[in-house]
């Protein structure tokens, strides 16, 4: 039956020979194999090797930095480094306890300024309709501010706080850092609130909740891990910034807490500025302290980053 049908169709031979049984007849398989002798596949392999090598090469600086921090910074690390004040030139001991306190204080104050502003406007942005002009322009301003040079934040804080109050202070440093933290907090919080499933919001509204109740009882509790991710990233960025502190918080060789008073309107030490100041000094002790301070700073920044990332991952699962 089938052979009859086949016979009726012209062009298909009744007795199929090797040519029709083997659809790949006449194809030279060695031409299709990956081979270094063929320009097309050779180029492909060459590019793969180049790209892999470049990616690994790009990671060398990371490991070099971390290794040197542990090797050179770890040697100098001791209890004294955390509890003592920075040494004068040619002095042989000393530490950077006041700089750690200063960094934490300046970052904390910057967070106190930027968190309320960032979070409340993020709530507005997340609830705004897509055609809201204010929301879209603030969102765009936030994106542009993300790339705002940190030194210009320092220049701004200098003009607003230092010139107005007549002196360098921890507050001026905090204002500068808060400008750098604001866009991160604003944009990640908006994303976090938007990622809460729409049906949770609708359920709350269906129960008769006002917008405010929906935000505080449904949206924010669900979005908290991601918001905290943004906050931790902002802290990590703020703690590492040097340029805006150079001429706002300046530096100090004394404790922030002096005779029972917290001196927020005085020049204040920070780890980042200490590293910058000591790295350029011709004294071995100071350079070693700069490495140790860099190790402490990087560990602080990495811990903040890791907490932030683990919070973000927990939310995904």
């Amino acid at each position: 039956m089938t052979s009859d049908v086949a016979a009726a169709k012209p062009g298909i031979p009744r007795n199929p020979d090797a040519e029709t049984l083997d659809p790949f007849h006449g194809v030279d398989f060695s031409k299709l194999e990956r081979s270094l002798h063929r320009p097309r596949t050779f180029m492909s392999m060459l590019w793969t090797v180049i790209v892999s090598a470049m990616t690994l090469f790009a990671l060398i600086p990371l490991f070099s930095v971390l290794w040197l921090l542990v090797w050179r910074g770890g040697r100098k690390l001791s209890i004294a480094a955390f509890t003592q004040l920075p040494p004068a030139p040619l002095e042989q001991s000393g530490g950077f306890g006041n700089a750690i306190v200063g960094t934490l204080a300046i970052c904390g104050m910057a967070l106190l300024i930027s968190l309320p502003i960032g979070l409340l406007s993020a709530i507005f942005l997340a609830q705004a309709k897509p055609d809201n002009r204010l929301a879209s322009s603030v969102r765009f301003a936030g994106k542009v501010l993300t790339g705002f040079p940190s030194i210009l934040a320092g220049v701004f804080a200098y003009g607003v706080v230092v010139m107005a109050t007549g002196g360098y202070s921890a507050l001026a440093g905090a204002v500068a850092l808060s400008i750098l933290m604001l866009p991160t907090i604003l944009l990640t919080s908006e994303d976090a609130i938007r990622m809460v499933p729409e049906r949770m919001k609708e359920a709350a509204i269906g129960m008769g909740a006002t917008d405010t109740q929906t935000v505080w009882m449904v949206l924010l509790p669900a979005a908290v891990p991601r918001i905290l991710t943004g906050v931790m990233l902002a802290i990590a960025r703020g703690a590492g910034e040097t340029a805006p502190l150079l001429f706002t918080a300046l530096f100090s060789s004394y404790w922030l807490l002096w005779h029972g008073h917290v001196k927020l309107m005085q020049p204040t030490a920070s780890l980042a500025v200490l590293i910058y100041n000591f790295a350029g000094m011709p004294f071995a002790n100071q350079v070693e302290l700069a490495w140790a301070a860099a190790l402490v700073l990087v560990v602080m920044v990495l811990i903040a980053n890791l907490i932030g990332q683990s919070l973000a991952n927990r939310q995904v699962q």
């Binding site: 097309r40 180029m43 492909s44 590019w47 793969t48 790209v51 892999s52 470049m54 990616t55 790009a58 600086p61 990371l62 930095v65 040197l68 921090l69 502003i117 409340l120 406007s121 507005f124 609830q127 322009s137 603030v138 994106k143 542009v144 501010l145 790339g147 705002f148 040079p149 940190s150 030194i151 210009l152 934040a153 320092g154 220049v155 701004f156 200098y158 003009g159 607003v160 604001l182 008769g208 909740a209 006002t210 917008d211 405010t212 109740q213 935000v215 590492g240 910034e241 040097t242 340029a243 150079l246 001429f247 910058y276 790295a279 350079v287 700069a290 860099a294 990087v298 920044v301 980053n305």
Partner: protein
């Protein structure tokens, strides 16, 4: 039996007032962010106005910076800012895009399975997720490059990069000194160490945004290229990269903005010399490094001049950042509908 009012009821008067107040508060703070953004720009520009009136456009074209004679101009700094950023962008783009391709185009899976094949474990189901895990690990490591504070990079550059490149620079200057790029010798800080560190700092931006753009390319486009007989790299060069090019370009522009405004690494490594030179080994200066060095010691009269320099930096970075943010936003919305 609960009545309807017990399950859901209209908001009470206090709740309604709280709601209105809170909404107004949120809107108020949003306005505040907008106002802050405007004030930042205005404050710097207005503080610069007296200096702009006094020095005019000659400030941008002269080459002298002498506080003692009250002579100020910033052409060397503008040149240094642009030159270092462009050079860093060349290195950063090459390595950043390579890493983005490696992380987005499945090369990690190849590498992982090639390694497993050596110990003959490639078919064990336990390793099924390994490529994805390695890919995430690598991209996190590259993002860590961005987390390290720039002052630490400066320290690293001073004590690692400069001693490392100095012998090579001596050799290049001695043997190939007739090429303008190698026209001077490296005597400590200079353009090349600064550019190397700067390109490491902008690489994560390019890789992260580039990887996102490559992953957003619809799979069917790649499959179509493979179906036509393209090798993997012919598909990448002819289909994937062109489709993702605008997103990658946006990332490069944003990285350029970062490079222009980067301060500490440059202040520590570039040499702070008022020189215009094409040579890679010559010391130079940038706008941000000038501000970082001159501001702490500035007398009130000099502050106006520095504000003028800050305004120039502000205008340059603002233009670049607005362009970058606009390109990235535009590309994201364009590809959104095409995801498979």
């Amino acid at each position: 039996m609960p009545t309807e009012t017990q399950i859901s009821k209209p908001p009470s008067r206090t709740q309604a007032i709280t709601d209105t107040a809170f909404r107004a508060l949120c809107q108020g703070f949003t306005w505040l962010v907008a106002v802050i953004a405007v004030i930042i720009v205005l404050k710097i520009v207005l503080a610069a106005l007296p200096a702009v009136r006094q020095y005019g456009l000659g400030f941008l074209s002269g080459q002298v910076w002498d506080p003692n004679k009250k002579l100020y101009s910033i052409l060397p700094e503008i040149w240094g800012t642009l030159y270092s950023s462009v050079l860093a962008l060349i290195f950063g783009t090459a390595f950043g895009v390579a890493a983005a391709l490696f992380l987005a185009e499945g090369f990690t899976a190849d590498a992982v399975f090639a390694l497993l094949k050596i110990v003959n474990l490639q078919f064990h189901p336990f390793w099924g997720k390994l490529p994805v895990q390695v890919e995430n690990l690598l991209s996190n490591l590259i993002e860590l490059l961005a987390a390290i504070p720039s002052v630490v990079y400066g320290l690293w550059g001073l004590f690692v990069i400069i001693p490392l490149v100095r012998p090579a620079c001596h050799w290049l200057h001695a043997d190939l000194g007739w090429i303008p790029l190698f026209g001077t010798d490296l005597s400590g800080p200079g353009m090349l160490p600064a550019v190397i560190v700067l390109s490491i700092m902008i690489l994560p931006t390019i890789t992260a945004i580039g990887r996102g753009a490559l992953l957003a390319v619809p799979t069917r486009l790649r499959m179509a290229a493979y179906g036509l007989g393209a090798t993997r790299w012919e598909a990448i060069f002819a289909v994937t990269l062109p489709t993702a090019s605008r997103g990658i370009f946006g990332g490069i522009v944003l990285a350029f903005g970062r490079a222009l405004g980067e301060t500490m690494a440059l202040a520590m490594l570039v040499g702070n010399a008022n020189v215009i030179s094409v040579s890679l080994f010559s010391p130079a200066n940038t706008l941000a490094a000038l501000l970082a060095n001159a501001f702490p010691e500035a007398s009130p009269k000099d502050v106006g001049v520095l504000m003028y320099a800050a305004t120039v930096l502000l205008v340059i970075t603002l233009l670049v950042n607005v362009a970058g943010a606009y390109i990235v936003q535009f590309t994201a919305s364009e590809l959104e509908g095409e995801k498979v």
